[in-house]
């Protein structure tokens, strides 16, 4: 491979990364707008509607405001880690998108067979996503510790406990997906669900869909699980942050929310396939992003509906309900796959048999 080829390849990679990072940042801005509008609608009030037509410029105004604010670093804080913490939480949220397949394209028939639209179509994509999303704990932990202040540290400890607890049930939930798909590659998992609504894994794995999505809420610290950033803790681990560094934390949180929604659509809701095969004339990316948008709406809906969990209730849900539930479902799926007589039922979803 000559230097020229390498330079071209590097340029293509940079473009691919930009093509994901820029829309993610933009959609984070507009998810905050939609969140305010939807919650306003649920609570029978207007939401933001003053800046620009129907308030559409509000996210830009907010961004500008945060950008112009002073970043304050407390004197007693550990400066290096205090500055590094927002980046440590943003980077995992963004690099997890590297393996997400956004659909399949043959580039209007130029390529002979369809290519998967992902920066990297990794063989161990599912594990990669799990590994990377478990790294976001560090940003939170560092933020809480380096602020050298009591509310952030309590918030960080709560947040870490929550993330560790729910990651386990999330991982076990994904094991059942692997058992049915027989692959860790996200594109292969979507291919295994081809053929319409009945083939989607939300049918045989419905409890796991619930576990995964609710655990996703807990991972991102969204509302029923936002005891880590409550008023009683003066917004938890990022109490001491202001300006752009504060915005970086919320960028990471909303990025993680998009990621969880994308993954739920890919793993359980058939990815880029239409519910009826005849509707596949509409491009797959539209279907995938549509499903994702609906799940993001569900996140916001949760926020407008449910009261916050108490710490011990949160722990009970993670360890005493979800964990046995997922372990039991792994057992049930395994039983169905390998018992003669029962395997006829599950063969419908087994791609590898």
């Amino acid at each position: 491979m000559s230097a020229m080829d390498m330079a071209i390849q590097a340029g293509i990679w940079a473009l691919e990364i930009l093509a994901i990072a820029a829309p993610v940042a933009l959609s984070v801005a507009y998810i905050t707008y939609m969140e305010r509008r939807i919650i306003g609608w649920v609570q029978v009030r207007q939401g933001c509607n003053r800046v620009g037509p129907a308030g559409l410029l509000q996210p830009l105004a907010d961004g500008l405001k945060l950008f112009l604010k002073e970043t304050i670093i407390p004197t007693q804080a550990n400066r290096v880690l205090f500055v590094a913490a927002p980046l440590l939480s943003l980077v995992p949220a963004l690099i997890a998108f590297a393996v997400v397949p956004f659909g399949e394209t043959s580039l209007f028939g130029i390529w002979g067979h369809p290519h998967v639209m992902a920066v990297s179509n990794l063989n161990v994509g599912l594990l990669y996503v799990m590994a990377i999303s478990s790294l976001s704990i560090y940003g939170v932990l560092m933020a809480g510790w380096s602020s050298n202040s009591k509310y952030p540290i309590v918030g960080a400890i709560r947040s870490t406990c929550q993330m560790i607890s729910y990651e386990i049930s999330m991982g076990f939930g994904l094991v059942t997906v692997m058992m049915l798909a027989g692959s860790l590659n996200l594109a292969d998992i979507v291919h295994a669900q081809a053929g319409g609504l009945l083939h989607w894994y939300m049918i045989p794995l419905f409890p796991m869909l619930l576990v995964f999505f609710i655990s996703g809420c807990a991972e991102t610290g969204r509302t029923p699980f936002d005891l880590t950033e409550t008023e009683e803790l003066v917004s938890g681990y990022y109490t001491e942050y202001s300006g752009m560094w504060f915005a970086t934390f919320s960028l990471a949180e909303y990025g993680a929310m998009i990621l969880i929604s994308l993954l739920t659509s890919i793993l359980f809701l058939g990815g880029w396939y239409a519910p009826i095969p005849a509707l596949d004339v509409i491009p797959g990316t539209v279907w995938l992003l549509g499903k994702t948008a609906f799940l993001i709406f569900v996140f916001i809906w949760f926020r407008a509906t449910f009261p916050r969990y108490r710490y011990d209730q949160m722990m009970r849900l993670g360890w005493k309900i979800f964990l046995p539930w997922t372990l039991g479902w792994i057992f049930v799926v395994g039983l169905f796959i390998y018992t003669p007589g029962l395997d006829g039922i599950i063969n419908f979803w087994l791609a590898w048999r």
């Binding site: 491979m1 390498m6 990794l122 063989n123 161990v124 799990m130 790294l135 560090y138």
Partner: protein
């Protein structure tokens, strides 16, 4: 060429991070250096076509083990002066072990097995070989017994940890969360006719 470059990058960074773990004064910085070290080690696994091991290293060590480490260290009050105490007393023994290890590493590095060219010319697995599947096959056929024994040992450790921690105090009042969750509106709200 590119591969050697990446190998040097990962190996060099992991050595630098390893030195950082020992040298840095702040224990929190040490932990961060150790995490960097794990990342570079997983990069080395990736270069050996062992992507499953690389990812699992990050998932288990960085994602779980180091978080608990950090959790404990955050709670500790580290007194640097206390740590310095008796430094000279332990220096001869520690220095001797360090020198022996250094000599061993240099001897191993010069033995001709670990030259840079050897790494670059190592045969790669074919594109369609699935590392995860291969490891699974070996683990559940050839090394089944060892694998199961390891699983049982882990289970014992798990149960041991639970046994050590579990204790119910008789004098404390506990909430019955099941009952709390099952509450319906009728239990709490009473409509009064005025």
């Amino acid at each position: 060429m590119l591969e050697t470059l990446f190998f040097d990058l990962f190996a060099g960074l992991s050595i630098v991070a390893g030195i950082g773990v020992v040298v840095s004064r702040n224990t929190m910085h040490s932990v961060m250096f150790l995490i960097l070290c794990f990342f570079n080690a997983s990069g080395l696994f990736f270069m050996l076509d062992a992507e499953f091991l690389g990812i699992v290293l990050i998932l288990i060590y960085v994602g779980a083990v180091m978080v608990l480490f950090m959790f404990v260290i955050m709670m500790l009050e580290v007194n640097v002066a206390m740590l310095r105490e008796g430094f000279l007393q332990y220096l001869p023994l520690g220095g001797m072990i360090a020198v022996i290890l250094l000599v061993e590493f240099i001897a191993a590095a010069n033995s001709g097995v670990f030259t840079a060219d050897v790494h670059a010319t190592a045969a790669h697995l074919a594109q369609d070989v699935n590392n995860t599947k291969e490891i699974g096959k070996v683990l559940y056929t050839k090394y089944l017994l060892g694998f199961e024994v390891a699983a049982v040992i882990l289970l014992v450790a798990l149960i041991g940890a639970v046994v050590l921690v579990i204790r119910e105090r008789k004098d404390a009042k506990y909430q019955n969360i099941n009952a709390q969750v099952k509450v319906r509106r009728e239990d709490r709200v009473r409509k009064v006719r005025m």
